[in-house]
Amino acid sequence: MRYEFRVTGSVSRLMAEAFPELKAEPVPRQTLFSGTVTDEAHLYGLLARFQDLGLSVREMRRLPE
């Protein structure tokens, strides 16, 4: 399953590197992370990682396959 996470602020390459499995794409005042999420454990792990890095997730949605 593929997911997209919308995160506040443009995220530097340095921070984006903490999500090697996701593609980071800058949009105005926000960053879109998208990629394949293995399972639910991975999903919650990603959310925790965003939180660990002080990034606030504005929106999260499942992408059509």
Partner: protein, 895 residues
């Protein structure tokens, strides 16, 4: 450090937690020191103080919001209402056994007398009382308020610990005050606590810095910002404490604080990324390089960091960073420190970009340093991350970790790390470690396959392997049950020269060649050796030997790490006893086994299900179907019941018996696997006898005879089964001859003995000799009564009833038989003390699903009194939940 008393979930006897003076562990229990430029935030301190007048205060917020800082500041100088027990949680503390042992330790440090209340020696009657019930009871009689701070509760993932905490909150005395900090809302019924006014919350928005507090923070760093700067930074960071601290650091380093504030406020970058980059860019190159390399670590020790950098300045650099209140926090009382997780993640990413090939080399160096310091688990994790499998496997084997892999708490971490090891890694040690990992996942076939590979390597090596390697090989061979029955045949297995005995002897010999202190440090090896031998004996149906060895194995477990082996050994002991008809002691040992695993509170967690199988068997033998069903369900929820051939066979036999008791003959037969699927002799025989019983219940005595003839029928049980089939077929003489042989065979168990008496009684009845039949029935009753063994009587069929009734009129045998029909499980130990009438009223209300408030209204009592009654009901019934109390109450006919 004072010695501590309580094993996390043991039986309170003979075992102590070995805190072993580990300063890293001690740091978990101390209130973190104040950072240098701490801003005292009275509005929040007051809030927590107010919360601590009630049972639960919850501090939630994102990483770096200042949750720990607030709780620590309040514990240090916020005038808490009583002594503060502090517990900093880690990701490895999630297992309930570990978590609760830490809680008891933390509380015990401020309340030395609390431990006495909890370590009360477990009498047989109280053996079911869980640790949580005892902990709750111990907090009932506090002389003043006591605060327990659980810092970082989000690290304890899963439902089981929060469920335990909910129980504690529901049943502890009014003077225990809980303060929990967490990044996420814990899985507690917060809405209910809110509605009941029992919860005080400090949430992310409360933790956010106000512009006034921002000014104070910046002043503390020697900066003199104007109101507009403080306001702008507060707005931009959303009052995020870690962000503001980073701002202060960045501003200290630039010459132009106002310029920094302006450009920061002007960017659209994510706050944390921008600030971290600012701070890292401003570091001297040597410091940055050091942090980059050290980012592979979770915890930094100056010497370890030196080993990674090849320099000698780590101590000075880390001390400097700590002093500057940057993002390096010391672990109090130790030379270790931690880098703030925000930075660790970013630094790791940077390291991967800049020096991708350095990463495995750094992990390999860390592994060697850690192994040298005796931190084996962490060393192995780093070795795995380095892909340095051969080194890691060799270290694990030489540290005799194979046994600890599936027993000790750290074993799971090693197992996880090495599960990624490719099978192509050459050498005996990697194959041995892979074998141990497979066994830890109950994959016996995979374990045997890897052991064969290891064996080939060992033979090719030519030279004699190190004793550690040989020992690991022999121990694993013993535990994965060598299947050599084919060539050893029926005789070889019995003269002590079977493959299991041979492996066990090899383990003993090799143990003798190692220094005694190393063997003493790993008692699980001897315990596993005995356990493996016991399994092998049980597999061949030698119950007495198996029982003796299981008891020895349980007795050999003397440390915290070996408790899981004790759990396994007691479970197997209970299983062997239940098969031999020693039901009382089987039940006792099974409960002790469950208590050790902490499963009594939390349900199965992938550990052994032998104890549940034994409890199901006991209930089945005593004709307590409801309990047997429940226990069997619990057993089937344990993974090993599906993978362990012994347990799988026993569970199938029980399912078949329960189906039979419901009169479903077809199902009873279909739940049994077909014959000849390569089981060890004993499970094969148990399955065959179950097939015979199912066939006989259908009236098909020829099929029953065939089922028994299909196996190697030594021992009394198959003879009794054959005799039963022949008697049904009307071949009385043949049946009696078989019974005579059965009676003379060694290893006659109670169920067999009772069965023999009953079949003889039937034969006498058929011959018209009612007096002899009566006399034989009396003997069967007397033999079965001490254990309340009812099943042989129920299997008898309709002829028994008139004989039993007839007994009543003529002789005192009626009372001899009364227990047989007395429902309600009179034989199981009743409540340690009878319930008072008020307690019984409360329990009746609980049965009607009423809440504490409703019960209070119904019985015109105060809510606190109701809770007191409930607690003593739980204690007397040895349960920890409402549902269990009702079930137990029904079992005991209190309800």
């Amino acid at each position: 450090m004072p010695p501590t008393g309580l094993p996390p979930s043991g039986d309170g006897r003979g075992t102590t937690l070995a805190w072993s003076g580990d300063p890293l562990l001690a740091a978990k229990f101390s209130v973190p020191a104040a950072p240098r430029h701490h801003v005292s935030r009275h509005r929040l301190l007051d809030r927590v103080g107010e919360g601590a007048r009630g049972p639960l205060t919850l501090v939630t917020g994102p990483a770096g919001a200042g949750k720990t800082a607030l709780a620590a500041a309040w514990a240090r100088d916020g005038e808490p209402p009583g002594p503060v027990a502090w517990l900093t949680l880690d990701t490895h503390d999630g297992a309930p056994g570990v978590f609760w042992s830490y809680v008891v330790e933390a509380l015990g440090r401020v309340l030395p007398r609390l431990r006495d209340g909890i370590t009360m020696p477990a009498r047989p009657g109280s053996v079911g009382t869980s640790l949580l019930t005892r902990l709750a009871a111990a907090t009932e009689h506090l002389s003043g308020p006591v605060v327990l701070v659980l810092d970082g509760f989000e690290k304890v993932a899963g439902r089981r610990v929060p469920a335990g905490l909910e129980f504690l909150l529901g049943h502890c005395g009014p003077l225990l005050r809980l303060v929990v900090t967490s990044r996420r809302d814990p899985l507690l019924p917060l809405h209910r606590y809110r509605a009941e006014g029992r919860l005080t919350e400090v949430r992310g928005a409360d933790l956010a810095f106000t512009p006034y507090e921002t000014t104070a923070l910046l002043r503390g760093h020697g900066l003199g910002p104007g109101d507009d700067v403080a306001g702008a930074l507060t707005r931009r960071t959303g009052g995020w404490a870690a962000g503001l601290r980073l701002c202060a650091l960045a501003m200290q380093r630039t010459g132009d604080p106002d310029g920094f504030a302006r450009s920061f406020a002007g960017t659209e970058q994510a706050v944390s990324g921008y600030l971290i980059a600012e701070v890292l860019d401003a570091l001297p190159p040597a410091t940055a390089e050091l942090l980059l390399r050290a980012s592979v670590l979770d915890r930094l020790h100056p010497d370890l960091v030196d080993a990674l950098t090849g320099r000698r300045d780590a101590e000075a650099v880390l001390a400097g960073l700590t002093r500057e209140n940057a993002f390096v926090d010391p672990v109090p009382g130790t030379p270790w420190c931690r880098v703030h997780p925000l930075f660790t993640e970013v630094l790791r990413g940077q390291l991967r970009i800049r020096h991708p090939r350095l990463v495995p080399r750094l992990h390999a160096r860390a592994a060697r340093w850690l192994a040298g310091e005796g931190l084996v688990t962490e060393a192995l994790e780093h070795a795995a991350q380095a892909g340095d499998w051969q080194y890691g496997a060799s270290e694990a084997v030489h540290h005799l970790l194979a046994g600890a892999l599936f027993t000790a708490p750290g074993g799971e971490r090693v197992e996880r790390a090495f599960s990624r090891m490719p099978p192509s890694v050459p050498g005996a040690e990697p194959a041995l470690l892979a074998a141990a990992c497979r066994l830890a996942r109950h994959d016996r076939a995979g374990c045997r396959e890897r052991l064969a590979v290891a064996g080939r390597h060992l033979r090719q090596g030519g030279t004699e392997p190190d004793p550690e390697v040989g020992l690991t090989h022999a121990l694993l061979r013993l535990l994965c049950e060598p299947q050599a029955d084919e060539h050893s045949g029926e005789h070889g297995a019995d003269d002590g020269s079977g493959p299991a005995e041979e492996a066990a002897r090899a383990v003993s010999d090799l143990m003798g060649r190692l220094p005694p202190e190393r063997i003493r440090a790993r008692p699980e090896i001897e315990a596993l050796r005995l356990h493996g031998l016991a399994r092998s004996h049980l597999g061949r149906g030698r119950l007495a030997e198996a029982r003796r060895l299981c008891a020895e194995a349980a007795g050999a477990c003397t440390t915290q790490e070996s408790l899981p082996v004790q759990h396994m050994a007691l479970g197997l002991l209970a299983l062997a006893e239940s098969a031999a008809g020693a039901l009382t002691s089987a039940e006792d040992h099974a409960l002790r086994s469950l208590l050790i695993a902490g499963q009594h509170d939390d349900g199965p967690d992938g550990r052994g299900g032998a104890a549940f199988v034994a409890l199901a068997a006991v209930a089945c033998e005593r004709d307590n179907q409801e309990v047997a069903h429940r226990r069997l369900g619990q057993a089937l929820a344990c993974r090993d019941v599906h993978y362990d051939p012994l347990l799988a066979a026993e569970a199938a036999v029980l399912r078949s018996r329960l189906e039979l008791a419901r009169g479903r003959w077809e199902t009873a037969l279909s739940v049994l696997p077909g014959p000849g699927t390569g089981e060890a002799p004993w499970p094969a025989r148990r399955l065959a006898l179950a097939r015979a019983a199912a066939a006989l219940a259908r009236g098909d005595h020829e099929a029953a005879v065939d089922a028994v003839h299909g196996i190697r029928a030594d021992g009394p049980a198959p003879l009794v089964a054959l005799a039963r089939a022949h008697l049904c077929a009307g071949r009385t003489d043949r049946s009696l001859r078989l019974l005579a042989r059965a009676e003379d065979s060694p290893g006659l168990g109670l169920p067999d003995l009772v069965g023999i008496h009953l079949l003889r009684a039937r034969a006498a009845l058929l011959a018209g000799d009612r007096a002899t039949a009566q006399c034989l029935l009396g003997r069967a009753l007397d033999a079965a009564r001490p254990e309340l063994l009812r099943r042989p009587f129920l299997d008898c069929g309709p002829w028994l009833r008139p004989l039993l009734d007839g007994a009543g009129r003529t002789d005192p045998a009626h009372t001899r038989a009364a227990w047989l029909t007395a429902r309600g499980d009179a034989g199981r130990p009743g409540p340690a003390q009878p319930l008072s009438s008020r307690e019984r009223d409360v329990l009746l209300c609980v049965q009607r699903m009423m809440s504490a408030d409703e019960i209070a209204a119904e019985l015109s009592l105060s809510v606190n009194t109701v809770k007191t009654h409930l607690r003593s009901v739980y204690r007397k019934l040895s349960v920890s939940r409402r549902r269990e109390a009702v079930e137990r109450g029904r079992e005991l006919h209190i309800l």
